[in-house]
């Protein structure tokens, strides 16, 4: 998601825009009210003038009305007059209106403007002696007024819109930045780093409050996770000492029996079983120790090809006994930054697994190579492989597939491999070798 599109969704931005809109509506109302009031007042004033003038003319006589009309017209350039005979013919005056258009006795009326002619208010009145007088007053100020008000609305509207948007963007940028920081933190937590906390700005605003709540939750979650994880390790650790003593006693009891004693095989079996439990505990604690190392890892330059060759040499007699081919295929000079001994241990686990699961006559390959320019080391076999659905599960502690039933092991080997890969930031993946399984560690430069 682009940060720009997120900006318009922030509360701050929306609020700012909403406030801008409310303010603009208020402004429209205010200016509209001013316009209506002012226009009404101006109209009323024009109408009063018209009525007064008409009354004044009414009171003059038929003899001097033409003179008075001329004088009045000269006095106020806004006014124009017209005197018409009873039959409607113009007697004097310069108004463009006629009694036919404006019948007498209708009170003041608005006359719309035409191109080149301003709008006006006009009053038509029949004089006591039968003639008709029309008084007209220029109303262009009303049009002016409307123009001014509309202009003010337009300009202030534009300014408010721009200012509002700008304020919205500026005010939203900071919370958005904080949310971005929170998102990075959450992603880190999601990726398994439970020590990370959401950033708190210290301004004690609602974002801080939310972050504080989430952080408190994280503390709880981390505590229970550690408890859940360490409870097993604690048990393993505590039980190892008594089990070691139990094993020693069983062993001594076994030694004390004469070689032919029928109870001897039973005791030997007990010792072997105890050894298996101890091996399982050792593996658990080993994984815990690897996981607990975190960043305190003894990294150095490690030659993947050398590891492939060493492992193949180490397991060659095992492969020979199982009548399986064990081959190392390696390109020289594949150097990665890693903890050599841990990586060796991980690969030895993979080879051990592969040899266990590949039937006699099979083939196991330890291969170090470049995959898309990145060094990787993989162990491939042509055994039964792992079903797609099980690939997620096999790295879980103690997970044993149905096919494992007849094969010795404690289901912790791949967990250790996963822990080692994780520690280095390397990718662990499973692939179908058709037939068989490829377990691959891609050594991206993580450290």
């Amino acid at each position: 998601m682009a940060p720009g599109s997120g900006l318009y969704r922030t509360t701050t931005f929306r609020l700012t825009v909403l406030f801008g809109a409310v303010f603009a509506a208020g402004l429209v109302l205010l200016l509209g009210l001013v316009y209506i009031q002012t226009a009404g007042y101006l109209t009323r004033r024009a109408d009063r003038t018209l009525t007064a003038e008409a009354g004044f003319l009414e009171k003059s006589g038929p003899q001097n009305i033409v003179t008075i009309l001329g004088r009045e017209a000269a006095r106020d350039p806004l006014d124009s007059f017209g005197l018409f005979s009873a039959t409607g013919d113009r007697v004097a005056g310069d108004t463009r209106l006629t009694p036919a258009e404006l019948p007498p006795g209708g009170g003041p009326r608005g006359i719309p403007g035409r191109p080149g002619v301003a709008p006006s208010r006009a009053l038509s009145e029949r004089l006591p002696w039968g003639e008709v007088v029309i008084v007209e007053r220029d109303a262009r100020q009303l049009t002016e007024l409307r123009r001014i008000v509309l202009g003010a609305l337009l300009w202030s509207g534009a300014v408010i819109a721009i200012l509002g948007l700008a304020a919205g963007v500026i005010l939203s940028a900071r919370p958005l930045g904080r949310i971005q920081a929170m998102r990075s933190a959450s992603e880190a937590i999601g990726a398994g780093d439970f020590g990370v906390r959401l950033p708190v700005s210290g301004r004690r605003d609602e974002l801080d409050e939310l972050a504080a709540i989430a952080n408190a939750m994280m503390v709880q979650a981390e505590r229970s996770m550690i408890q859940a994880r360490t409870v097993g390790e604690g048990v393993a650790h505590e039980l190892r000492t008594p089990l070691t003593r139990l094993r020693a006693r069983l062993d001594h009891a076994c030694q004390d029996l004469t070689p032919g004693d029928p109870r001897r095989p039973l005791l030997e079996q007990c010792v072997a079983e105890t050894d298996a439990v101890l091996a399982r505990f050792r593996a658990m604690l080993r994984i815990a120790a690897v996981e607990a190392r975190g960043r305190r890892i003894g990294v150095g330059q490690v030659d993947l090809s050398a590891i492939a060759l060493q492992i193949a040499e180490l397991y060659e007699p095992v492969a020979a006994e199982r009548n399986t081919d064990l081959v190392a295929e390696s390109a020289p000079g594949l150097s990665v930054r890693a903890d050599g001994e841990l990586l060796l241990e991980a690969i030895s686990n993979l080879v051990d697994n592969a040899l266990k699961f590949t039937p006699a006559g099979g083939r196991v390959v330890v291969r170090a190579a470049l995959a898309g320019g990145v060094p990787m080391i993989e162990v491939a076999d042509n055994g039964p492989g792992i079903a797609e659905a099980e690939r997620e599960l096999v790295v879980k502690r103690f997970y044993r597939s149905d096919r494992d039933a007849n094969i010795e092991g404690h289901g912790l080997g791949l967990s250790l491999v996963a822990a080692v890969a994780d520690l280095h930031g390397f990718d662990l993946s499973f692939e179908d070798a058709r037939p068989g399984l490829i377990v691959r560690i891609v050594c991206r430069a993580g450290l």
């Binding site: 010792v271 593996a283 815990a288 120790a289 040499e313 180490l314 001994e341 030895s348």
Partner: protein, 225 residues
């Protein structure tokens, strides 16, 4: 009779170590305090020391390094409850000669002490090792049994050398893995057994006395009878 000094603050463990070693014919002095341990060890009267990593008074690592500084070369078996991956390296670097993690099987501990004692007495520079009719020439890198040349791979030569240098001594699987391969992890499945079996196949033959014996529950021993 070899004299062993056990510096261990846990009374139960100290008692177990002492009893096991006495049973095997050693004379054992046990102390619980680090400073007292250092004082006794500095006398140079002992043939080997078992040294706990965590001690009151003075830390195990500090004891090991100050003993080496004083020129006391009594072999030291470091014993630690720390299941840390790099703890072994630190222990050995500080002057420990071998390293063991708690909890341990007592016979494993005793086997390691015996190997340390033997290493002290034996001539490490010896280049031809012999046991009964078995002979290993380290210069020519050749092994012979009853005058017949054995064709051994380099790792098998190394394994045989380790057995010959500790002839008659029980060697556990983890001791073998550490000494011959230099690795310190659980190699899973019977890896060491397979290697030893392969060596044994080349060593033994019809009419020859078996030399490489399996010690049930512990490990292996090379020796006549």
């Amino acid at each position: 009779m070899p004299k062993i000094l056990t510096i261990e603050d846990d009374a139960v463990t100290a008692d177990e170590i002492a009893r096991e070693l006495r049973q095997r014919g050693f004379e054992v002095d046990a102390v619980a305090d680090g400073l007292e341990g250092l004082r006794l060890a500095s006398t140079g009267r002992y043939d080997a020391i078992t040294l706990d990593r965590r001690l009151p008074g003075l830390d195990g690592l500090a004891i090991a390094s100050s003993l080496k500084e004083r020129g006391i070369d009594t072999p030291i078996l470091m014993i630690s409850a720390l299941n840390e991956v790099d703890e072994r390296v630190r222990g050995l670097r500080a002057g420990g000669d071998d390293y063991l993690t708690k909890p341990f099987a007592l016979d494993e501990m005793a086997a390691r002490v015996e190997v340390l004692l033997r290493r002290r007495g034996a001539d490490q520079a010896k280049l031809v090792l012999r046991l009964a009719d078995l002979e290993l020439d380290l210069v020519a890198r050749e092994a012979r049994r009853d005058g017949r040349a054995l064709h051994l791979f380099p790792k098998e030569l190394k394994l045989l050398e380790y057995f010959l240098r500790n002839g008659g001594q029980v060697l556990t699987r983890s001791m073998i893995f550490q000494a011959v391969w230099g690795y310190d992890f659980d190699p899973g499945t019977n890896l060491i057994d397979v290697h030893v079996r392969a060596l044994r196949r080349k060593l033994e033959g019809p009419g020859l006395e078996p030399l490489l014996h399996t010690v049930r529950g512990s490990g292996y021993r090379l020796g006549a009878r």
